[in-house]
């Protein structure tokens, strides 16, 4: 008898543990009648692509949490190739002021509170920058010419202690942009003194993307202090290319700002020039990093005092938003996540839109390829690709406003420019599938029935597999034999080797004006399909060598028209993006640019 009791008692303890967990869960079904209500999309969307004017702001106590993904914060210096990522920039861009930023449609917006700039001469290109008088680092040191001179030095000086000739040398500083700036501005910015607020860049040749060439500077006074010289001495050393100073400076710049996870550096080492700065003890490795309002910030202060960036995997974000662990999320834009988010009802606001990444089908112009020398063959393919169907079936369920993309250098959401360029370059002939026309072109090209067309893409990618299936369903009727050539090693092997007829992948738009030259001009590194067209080459040269925006527009029209007429490839759609946020949070805005929803985080405010 006794034993039986003892046994029972153990069991009672054991089941007690189980029941404890049981009683905590089913109880919640009282106030839970989450009927999917209509999602209210931002009604009063600001009409400017730049940050909206939200009036006078006083910083409210509180915290907003956001997550880009599970990647750990790496360090204060986001400009080395190892640390340069959207994850790291999500943190550092909050504490780095600059003369400009990308607006929601990729427009370059000026931040007048940081300073102003203007091209004093267009050809030769000379640009004068003036940092605002009250602009200071969070430790009180003014932001000056010295910071920008150092910024230039990190992108200009070679390992041999010279200014770069053609940007191909080994750089002294490990800067993600390499030596491009030094290539364009060999003299560096010019000013009267180290502490000057006004300085001028003299470009050696005209550069279309001059505006975004000058970005946020790193603090020169910290570098100088770390290598035991004064700021004036550092400035002098850069001007004289004095390697005895520059080498230790580069050493510190390259490695001195790398942090061990969870260990914030001494605040004196990591000053802020933006609305936020590191919060003391705010970084827990593997968990989150918290920024707090920069007390020394001279511009509009942040609306909410603290911003926490949590390191959580994207597939956990929706539930985290529901539970209030995150306030703003950017989940994977899939049909499933949209459905999940819509279930959350009115507690959550969903913003969908397009991004600056766009999907396209590119022909292989390499020797011996099916489409290489035959325009009718390319036209036959273009007539049978069901672009509208692909957008309707795969993209519209995510973003209702999605449309077929008909240009390469501009995006549908850049409405005015897009409409003008498309009107001038494309007559809409491939908008709808036209199988008769496709068959006619197919015969004209002299293609044999059942000609193999491999569509290569980087697998696994379910959406692209669906796209290929849709193309196969349509184009096989014309006589092509479409083959799904999805391969994990696509970029590694198939693309450089030319083992494909059609390449299906996406370019991430950089916001640069002239970056397309790399893709469409003869012999350029990213011209994988080996396309070559004299008109296009000339137009690119003309475009890249001027800062005149009307010329940019005209040349883009020429390029787009030629690319359509000769069928370089077929643009399909701009990738959709989704942002969801707690409904009580104001001023959250979706952006197409790669900075992510966090781009205007200093404006996020909780409704009180």
């Amino acid at each position: 008898m006794k034993i039986r009791r003892a046994g029972a008692a153990i069991a009672a303890v054991a089941t007690g543990a189980l029941l404890f967990s049981a009683c905590s869960s089913p109880a919640g079904n009282q106030d839970d009648d989450a009927t999917p209500t209509e999602t209210t999309t931002e009604t009063a969307a600001p009409d400017t692509p730049c940050k909206a004017d939200i009036g006078e702001v006083t910083t409210a106590d509180g915290d907003v949490s956001y997550s880009v993904g599970e990647d750990e914060f790496l360090g204060y210096n986001s400009f080395t190739p190892e640390t340069y990522s959207t994850y790291n920039s999500a943190v550092t861009e909050r504490m780095q002021g600059a003369f400009w930023y990308f607006g929601v449609d990729g427009t370059i917006c000026r931040d007048e509170s940081f300073g102003t700039y203007e091209a004093v001469s267009e050809d030769p290109l000379q640009v004068q920058y003036t940092v605002a008088d009250d602009a200071v680092w969070s430790d009180g040191t003014p932001i000056t010419y010295a910071d920008f001179l150092l910024d230039w030095a990190t992108q200009a000086i070679t390992k041999d202690g010279a200014v770069t000739e053609d940007a191909s040398e080994t750089p002294l500083f490990n800067h993600v942009s390499g030596l491009t700036l030094g290539d364009y501005v060999p003299e560096g910015p010019q000013a009267d003194a180290a502490e000057a607020k006004t300085f001028q860049y003299d470009y050696e040749r005209v550069y279309a993307d001059w505006q975004i060439q000058i970005s946020s500077p790193m603090p020169a006074h910290v570098v100088a202090q770390q290598i035991d010289v004064s700021v004036e001495e550092l400035v002098q050393a850069i001007q004289d290319l004095d390697m005895s100073v520059l080498e230790p400076a580069a050493e510190f710049w390259n490695t001195g700002w790398i942090s061990n996870p969870g260990e914030l550096q001494d605040p004196a080492l990591v000053p802020s020039s933006g609305p936020y700065t590191f919060k003391e003890d705010g970084w827990v490795s593997g968990q989150s990093i918290t920024l707090t309002a920069n007390e020394a910030y001279w511009g509009t202060p942040p609306a909410t005092r603290e911003l926490t960036i949590r390191f959580a995997a994207a597939d956990t974000h929706v539930q985290a938003l529901q539970n209030g662990d995150l306030d703003v999320i950017e989940p994977q834009p899939t049909v499933d996540t949209i459905a999940q988010l819509e279930q959350l009802g009115s507690a959550v606001t969903i913003l969908t839109g397009q991004t600056l990444t766009w999907e396209h089908l590119d022909f292989n112009f390499g020797e011996g390829a099916v489409f290489a020398d035959s325009l009718p063959a390319r036209e036959a393919f273009a007539y049978c690709v069901p672009r509208q169907k692909i957008v309707d079936d795969l993209i519209k369920p995510i973003d209702e406003g999605a449309v077929v993309m008909n240009a390469r250098e501009v995006f549908p959401f850049q409405t005015e420019k897009y409409d003008e360029i498309v009107a001038a370059s494309y007559d809409g002939r491939y908008d709808e599938v036209d199988l008769d026309m496709a068959k006619q072109k197919f015969e004209e090209a002299g293609l044999e029935e059942g000609v193999r067309v491999r569509i290569g893409y980087s697998a696994p990618n379910p959406r692209r597999a669906d796209e290929v299936a849709a193309i196969k369903a349509s184009c096989d009727q014309v006589g092509f034999d479409i083959v799904d050539a999805g391969d994990p090693a696509f970029f590694d092997e198939a693309l450089p080797n030319g083992d494909y007829e059609i390449a299906l992948f996406a370019w991430a738009g950089s916001g640069q004006i002239a970056s397309g030259q790399n893709i469409y001009a003869t012999g350029q590194p990213q011209n994988y399909g080996q396309y070559s067209n004299e008109t296009v080459d000339q137009a690119w040269d003309a475009l890249a060598s001027t800062t005149d925006e009307t010329v940019h527009l005209e040349q883009t029209k020429i390029i787009e028209k030629e690319l359509w007429d000769t069928l370089f490839g077929i643009p399909v759609f701009a990738h959709p993006g989704v942002v969801a946020h707690a409904a009580d949070l104001q001023n959250v805005r979706d952006t197409a640019a790669q900075s992510g929803a966090v781009w205007n985080s200093e404006q996020w405010a909780r409704a009180s």
Partner: protein, 505 residues
Amino acid sequence: MLKFILRRLGISALILWLASVLMYWLTVNSGDPLKDLRESNAENREQLMQQRSDILELHLSWQERYWNWLTGVAGCFRGECDLGTSINGSDVLNLTSQAAGSTLRLVTLATLLAILVGVALGILTAIRQYSGFDYAVTFLAFLFFSLPVFWAAVLLKEYGAIRFNDWIAGGQAGPLAIVLIAALIALVLAALLGGSPQRRLVTGAATFAFVGLVMFGLNVLDWYRSPFFGLGMVLLASLGAGALTTALVTGFGNRRVLYAAATTAAVGTVAYLVFIDILLDPSWPALLGLFVLAVAVSVAIGAAWGGYARKQAMLVSGITGVLTSLIIAFDILVAHWSGFLGLKSRPISTIGSQTPNFRGEFWESVLDKGAQLILPTLVLTLVSIASYSRYTRSSMLEVMNQDYVRTARSKGLSERAVITKHAFRNALIPITTIVAFDFAGLIGGAVITERVFGWKGMGALFLDALNRVDPAPVMAFFLVTGTAAVVMNMLADIAYAFLDPRIRR
């Protein structure tokens, strides 16, 4: 024996080395580390690719890179470990130690709980073979065992976090919930206690009424939002723990042991009052010191009461001391719950191992971190309880049918002594092996759980690195989990060889 151990060691080292070669080769060939750069249109793309190639030493053959890695690891024996740098320039040794720490925090509690509950369930189902309780546990064990972790985790977050948080905001159990919970407890208890149908009915009805009343009372007192446990309950629970331990180890027949346990419980409760100031605002070293003191005092009480049963009395009161300490800690935590709710209105988060920037005193942050442990621990425990309970059950059943158990019964030993001393000890032999295997497995197997609950542990380290085709962290992961697996298996083998001479060749 030494020869056996040395041979095992040699084989283990060889296996580990061969596996590391294979792992390295597989990682290096798992994709293209430059993939994201190839799709980029940065002007200095070539330079960036070169830069990354230099970091990853892509110009070398994989054998040479493996050799470099191996020599770095070999440095550990000279005290200068070099596990390489990751693709973004972080020191892998540092990353690994942080990740391993977080994983251990996650896995230890789950493993202990799983062993405890699993083995207990196994014994109980073996004793009550083919009863309703047995069938129910078997059914649940298989159910949990076959649960896909990611799915179970998402469900747990929905019910255990989101809906629980919604509910705790009001903190009142609805009538239906009370009836269901009371019925469930009644059912389980009736099945456990057994007896004639009539007796079960009485047990069930009484339990149902009791639980229902208690839950109603808790509602009235708003207990879920501002709970209390109380000194009286501490004393009662400690006494109960003492009695249970005594019943298991010696039986109530041995009064000296029972008295020792009771004294320990009483002294523990008094000590709670004495040290209340330290306990309410402690530090980890102070708590640890008090705990050690508690165990020492308990053992001394056992020694004083012991007499002829000195050893047993010391054991029992020692265990009672530990349990009393835990009950006191529980009481303090319960008392801090409402304060914690004030700081964090939604107590259980779906991600992370702690609340960012949590501003609470010592016990509140223990609650914060503890609350974050509950869900992932539950997932891991539920999955491994299944195998433990099944193994224990079958092993117990086998042993219970052995001749020596019959002999023990026939010479008049009490059923308690037969089960705990003769049957259970022998049944433990195979379970030891499984525990060793499992612990090693859990470190690597927590990959999904970690990811779903936003813990940055070994799993995240491995996954992230593999996605970027970055061999150094992958190999560090392998080094830790591989070594753990090999060492644990070896320990199990050795233990096995010690326990069962027949397998020593």
